[in-house]
Every structure is written in structure tokens, then in C-alpha cells.
Amino acid sequence: MPLPAFQDLAPIYPEIFLALASMALLMIGVFSRDEDNPSVSWIAIAILVATGALIAGQDAGARELFDGAFLADDFGRFMKLLILAGAALAIILSFDYLKTAKILKFEFPVLVLLSTLGMLLLASANNLISLYLALELQSLALYVLASFRRDAVLSSEAGLKYFVLGALSSGMLLYGCSLIYGYTGTVGFEGIAAVLENTDRSVGLVFGLVFVLAGVAFKLSAVPFHMWTPDVYQGAPTPVTAFFASAPKVAAFAMLIRIVQEAFPAIAEDWRQIIIAISVASMVLGAFAAIGQTNIKRLMAYSSIGHVGYAMVGLAAGTPSGVQGVMIYLAIYIVMTLGAFACILAMRRGDSDVEEIAELNGLSRNQPMLAFMLTVLLFSMAGIPPLAGFFAKFYVFLAAIEAELFWLAVIGVVTSVVSAFYYLAIIARMYFQEPAADFEPMTAKVRFVLGLTGIITLFLFIPIQFLVTAAETAAGSLF
């Protein structure tokens, strides 16, 4: 069998570029005299932007490579652009933090690039082997990033915990993959779908699917596989947490949607039950467990668990508009999350980070702009119109109602009201409490990210149709 010619590899050019560029960046980092060279991070951002441009410049339509192991389609491209945006903003947020924490090393952006590469490949993975390899590429880099502040106990703990539980979940995923392969005789998603079309589903196959979904749910930090999330979010360096909460979630959702919609459309009834159960559990836990939190990073962890639950409502519908809803949700979610983490990064006194929620007391008087932006983002997360977060929830609940999952939508609305409680509690602190000590002024880069995400959150209702159409086209490529 001959090797594929290079010009035939056009669909995977962006990923090849990203891989080569990150290796080149690694070399630049190693051989530059300066140990803590911030220009490496700037180059990394440029690489991400260039990769994004390459992806955006690809022709519409689906193309397969390597016997169907890699699939470049509209759905994948939409998710990839979200992933790249999340990664680039996370790197921008990291500059000043790494410098003050004295962990400004060139490996940081390189690892972010390599895990982003894993995510891009994950969004394009079209068989079980490429899915697993891409997932491991992503996860392995994330484990290292979690413990990047290796001298801090919490960071090391976060990395170790994430690694051990992540390895366990990979084991479950692989076991599920082996069962699916055993019962269908193929690893390709189309092949699996074709086998399921022609034969009755066997219990063993559903067993395998359950294991795969359990592994994916772990990566998504969906209940009941969420236990690692608060600890890892709290322990990991804050820009890393911002990265964890944005890009990998998009990649994991891309993987989940592709598995269930491309490989298992024939047994939708089986996986929809699982997705609904996970979704309800995540929404409820995300809403109630966050109430008692005093650390803002832990609060964001529970909030992200809840958001995963809401996004899954759209997937539970199992319709094109449901997948479209998930994609809109993810796009808006990463904007809000990165904004919120920019605010958390702005919480600094002297040389140390402040992470207690009580420290936000009276922020509106000390730093009215920061308080206003955080208020906008929190209102948006609670789903208050006309902010972006409202549209996110609107489209997933609409899809659920169209699919006649009325009670699921009702649970979603009720839990978002409950979660509004703790978002509003923070806002009340900022506006109605006596001021705590002042924070350090925001750095320019944090202000940039906060401004960008804040403006998108505030004014997305004007060009929302653009996002909806883009998501519709992208979701259409799966059905």
C-alpha cells in the first residue's frame, strides 16, 4: 500500500501545521538563551491564529483521510475554531500569572499547543483508534499543565489526581471501545453505524457504549464522574483552569456528539437515556453544590458542571436542532467562562492571588469596571436576557421541547433559577457590602480578554443570527 501523497492530505494541513509549528516552537524555546522568554507565548498565539485561518479557509463539505480515521467536516471546523479561540485566550491570560508565580517557562505554551492539537484531532476523529490517541494526546498535556506549578502542593495534587482518575477513565473508554469492536468487528464510526443498521443491537454492544460514555463523561466532568473537577480547578494554576474550563470541554463535546450521532444513530433510544440521566444529574448538582462554596475557583468548577448538564439537554434531544443548540451553547459558554476567569485573575493583592468569594465584597466601589463586567458575565451565566447566556440556554431548551422532552426542559429551567441564586449572591456582595481591601490594578492583557468577552456577552444578541446559522450549517453535516 503506498503512502498518501502530500497534496492529498489537504484536509489535515491545519493540524500538520500546528504539529510542526509546536515542535519548532519547542526548539526555539530550548535553544533561546532566555529561560523565561515571553516571546514564545506570542509566537504560540500567532500559531493558533494561523491554524485557525487555515481551518477557516478550508472548502466546505466533508473529506476523509487515512481510511476514514480522520474526517474534516463543517461540524469539526466549527468546534476547532472554538477550541483555538479558547486556547489562544487562555495563553493571553497566562502571561502575567506565570511571571508573578515564577513559572514562566517556554514549555507552557508548547504544552498548550500540543494539547490543542490533540483537541483538533479529537474533533476530527472518525474511528475509535484515532479518537483514543487524540484524547490521550490532549489529556497527557493537560495533566502536566495542571501540575505546572510543581512547587505548590495544591497544584501537584491537582495534577496527580487528574492523572490517576484520567487514566482510569481512559481505561474505561478503551474497555468500551474493545467491546464495541468485538461486537461490530470494526472501529470506524460509519462501519459501526452500518453494522447496527443491519443487525439487532446486542447487549454487549450497549455495554461497550455505556463504558465509552462513562469515559467521555469523565473528560467532560459530568455527574457522576465529576469528583475530580473542584479539586483540579482549585489546585491548577488559574490560567490553566481557564483553559481546562474552555477548550477541552468543546473537544470532549465534539467527541461525544460524533460518537453518538455518527456511530450509534441506530440505537439512539439507548444512548439518549444515558445522556438524559447525566444531564439531569449534572444540572442538579451544579446548581445545588455550588451554593456552599467559598472559593471562587471551586464555584466555577461546579458552575461548569452545571453548564455541561445544560449543553447535554440539546444532545439528549437527538435532533439536528439539538446539536445546533449544543454548539451555540459551547460557543457562548467558552466566552463567558474565559471572561469569568479573567476576573478571577484580576483578583490579586500584592504578589498573591485571592480566591475567596468574600474578598469581592464592595468591589463596585473600588473597581466599578471590573465589578460591572463580572456582573454582566454572571448574569449571562444565570441566563438573563438579553445577555449571551440566555440564548445559549434558549436554544438547547427549545430543542428539548421540540423533541418533547418537556420535563427535561423544566428541570433545566428550575436548576438555572437555583443557580441564579449563587450568581446573584456574588453580585450582591460586590454592590451591597462594605468594601474589602483593594485589588491590584488589572494588567493590560487580562483587561483585553475581559473587555473582549464582556462585549461579546453584552452585545451578542445583535449578531446572534450569524452564530445560529453557522451552528446550523455545521450541525447539518452530521445528519
Binding site: M1, L111, L140
Partner: protein
């Protein structure tokens, strides 16, 4: 029951049993030794499937390198060897038994394994010509062509692992003397030796 069936159940049983022992053994050294036993039996299962290349790779890479490295690391950890020695006599019978089984298995595998023809038909053929070439050759044919994508991806995973290991463990200590070949070669007697006239009865101040 055919010979192949008998060996399948033997290998499968010992694999599962030793995997259980890996996680339940109190002594980490024993756990690693059980892991090695599990690897050997898994290799036996691969042989029954007709995948002799993977079987041998498993023995060479996992048993020969990875498990030995494991053992090495475990021994560097704080293991109470006094306690270990005290229990040695107690565990000798079961240890000897397992060792004996392992030896017997090895001997049986080496001397008497055959793949039943009907078993070979059940295996999903990796490439059409699998029956004509040895499976080492078959893997060689597809590894860098059909599966180039997976191969490269696995390479990227290893790269990340390497970067990660360096990031998390490398520390640049101050004041550590390192060998600098260029400086050593460039030295000459005038830079290395200083000749002083020392007055008798007095040291060098």
C-alpha cells in the same frame, strides 16, 4: 476440550488472578512481580491468537523493560525490607508455586503451542494477505502506510510525555559543577599550575 482451549483458559485464569493480586498485594514488589506474571500470560493469549509478534513485544518491552523499571522504582521507594524478610518463609510456598506455574507455562508454551485452524478463521484479518505473510511482516507493511496517522499520533503522545517529564522533574540547581569538555581541552599548564616559591619554615599564606 482442545489443547488450545485448555491453554486459553489457563492463561486467561492466571492473567485475571494475577491482575487481581497486583491490586491486592500489600507489598509493592510483589505487585510488580504479579504484573510481570500477568504480562507473560497475556503474551500467551496473544500467541494463541496467532499474534506472535505482539506476544514477543509484550515480553520484551513490558517484561524486559517496563516492569524491570517499575521494580527498580518500587525498590527505591520506602519499602520495609525487614518486614519483607520476615514474611519470606511464609510466602515461599505460594511464591514457589507461582514460580513453578510460570516455569511450566513457559516450557509448555515454548515446546507445544499450536494454533487450532478453526481459531485462526475467527480472527479478524488485519490485512487481506495475513495468511500469506508472517504477522511481523504484516505489521511492517501497514505500520508506516495504512496506519501512518496512528503511528504519528502515538509519536506526538510520546513527545508530550517527554516534555512533561522534563517540565515536572528537571531542576536547574545553582552551584552544580558540570563537565565542560571545551574548557577542559582548552586548559594548558600555564592556566592550570601556579608555581610559587615557598620560604622554608613558612606555609603559603
Amino acid at each position: 476440550m482442545t489443547i488450545a482451549g485448555f491453554f486459553f483458559y489457563l492463561f486467561a485464569f492466571v492473567t485475571v488472578a494475577s491482575a487481581l493480586m497486583v491490586i491486592s498485594a500489600r507489598n509493592p514488589v510483589h505487585a510488580v512481580l504479579f504484573l510481570i506474571l500477568a504480562f507473560f500470560n497475556a503474551a500467551g493469549l496473544f500467541l494463541l491468537l496467532g499474534a506472535e509478534f505482539i506476544a514477543l513485544i509484550l515480553v520484551i518491552v513490558y517484561v524486559g523493560a517496563v516492569a524491570v523499571l517499575f521494580l527498580f522504582v518500587v525498590m527505591m521507594l520506602d519499602v520495609d525490607f525487614a518486614e519483607l524478610r520476615a514474611g519470606f518463609a511464609k510466602y515461599l510456598p505460594i511464591g514457589g508455586l507461582i514460580g513453578g506455574i510460570l516455569l511450566a507455562q513457559l516450557l509448555l508454551v515454548v515446546t507445544a503451542w499450536t494454533v487450532a485452524p478453526q481459531e485462526a478463521l475467527k480472527i479478524a484479518e488485519p490485512i487481506p494477505a495475513a495468511s500469506l505473510v508472517s504477522n511481523t511482516e504484516a505489521i511492517g507493511r501497514v505500520m508506516y502506510t495504512k496506519y501512518i496517522y496512528f503511528f504519528q499520533l502515538a509519536g506526538m503522545v510520546l513527545l508530550v510525555a517527554m516534555i512533561g517529564a522534563i517540565v515536572l522533574t528537571l531542576r536547574h540547581r545553582e552551584g552544580v559543577k558540570r563537565q565542560d569538555v571545551a574548557t577542559q581541552v582548552a586548559r594548558d599548564p600555564s592556566a592550570a599550575i601556579e608555581v610559587r616559591q615557598v620560604e622554608s619554615g613558612k606555609g603559603i599564606g
